[in-house]
């Protein structure tokens, strides 16, 4: 069954994903529940879009600066890791700390190989945006009919 924590983490991740889908589905009628399955680490939520020539990854990383983030690519393997520092001011009494701190790492297997030399990464308003051009072999080719 589950041999490693990461398996359970992945399972919960899937359940969270399902829950978010359901939340969106019923979003018109009820306020979505804020409940989250535990264990899901501070790993940022991510979207993956596919265009003809590239993939686009977006990740929520509020409060992180570009020096706090690391992106590694090898073939079709992508890893986003980083560290979220506490921005708690000195000498203040703490009432609530919901914003998690600490390191995270998340890896993806992209649907196709990407050209790691041409990757473009931008960080704007707390959203990391990666544009990953597909490797030549993975690009769609138009076949002309004779």
């Amino acid at each position: 069954m589950f041999t490693r924590m990461s398996d359970i983490d992945r399972l919960f991740g899937t359940m969270n994903l399902l829950q978010r889908k359901l939340d969106t589905l019923y979003g018109d009628y009820a306020r979505p529940s804020a409940y989250k399955w535990d264990l899901e680490s501070a790993a940022p939520r991510t979207n993956l879009y596919e265009h003809d020539d590239n993939f686009e990854i977006r990740a929520e990383v509020p409060g992180l600066e570009k020096d706090d983030l690391n992106v590694k690519i090898q073939g079709n393997y992508l890893e986003i890791s980083g560290k979220r520092h506490s921005d708690a001011p000195e000498g203040y009494k703490v009432h609530k700390t919901e914003r998690g701190v600490g390191s995270f790492s998340r890896s993806f297997t992209l649907p196709a190989d990407v050209d790691s030399t041409e990757v473009d990464a931008t960080l704007k308003n707390g959203v990391l945006c990666l544009t990953l051009p597909k490797h030549e072999a993975a690009k769609p080719k138009k076949i002309s009919i004779n």
């Binding site: 994903l17 978010r20 939340d23 969106t24 979003g27 018109d28 306020r31 979505p32 804020a34 939520r45 991510t46 979207n47 993956l48 879009y49 596919e50 265009h51 993939f55 686009e56 977006r58 929520e60 990383v61 509020p62 409060g63 992180l64 600066e65 921005d87 708690a88 001011p89 000498g91 203040y92 009494k93 703490v94 009432h95 609530k96 700390t97 919901e98 914003r99 998690g100 649907p111 960080l123 308003n125 707390g126 959203v127």
Partner: protein, 128 residues
């Protein structure tokens, strides 16, 4: 009116309703010292113009709308357009005129200064 009819009527009423945006509760940190209360809220992807902060009758409401400009086929999506909404009760001792807000890399930071009257004061004891 029987129930089936009632349900049918409800649906008719809703037919023109446009889709509301998915609402989310932003995670916040709240700190306090003698001079002010600080509130930090995570709102990734929200731009300055789409944020509103209101203080009315002892209630602080923050709201931020995120509009993602997306194109291409979605392979998977874990976050989307969302409206971050959250309200807090603030004590009357907050000086509403002097509240400051800043937005940096998706984090909204509010400074809520306490009014002079509410600050703790050291009372000097005079010897007779």
């Amino acid at each position: 009116m029987d129930k089936a009819k009632e349900i049918a009527k409800q649906e008719e009423k809703n037919i023109e309703k446009t889709r509301e945006m998915y609402e989310a509760t932003p995670a916040v940190d709240i700190y306090e010292n003698e001079n002010e209360i600080l509130l930090h809220a995570d709102m990734p992807g929200v731009v300055k113009d789409d944020i509103s902060v209101d203080i009315d009758n002892g209630t602080l409401s923050i709201s931020g709308v995120r509009k993602l400009e997306t194109e291409g086929a979605v392979t998977y999506e874990e976050f989307s357009d969302v409206e971050y909404i959250r309200s807090f009760s603030v004590p009357q001792t907050i000086d509403v005129e002097k509240v400051e807000a800043e937005l940096k890399s998706g984090v909204l930071r509010l400074h809520l200064p306490k009014s002079e009257a509410a600050k703790p004061r050291q009372i000097e004891i005079k010897t007779a």
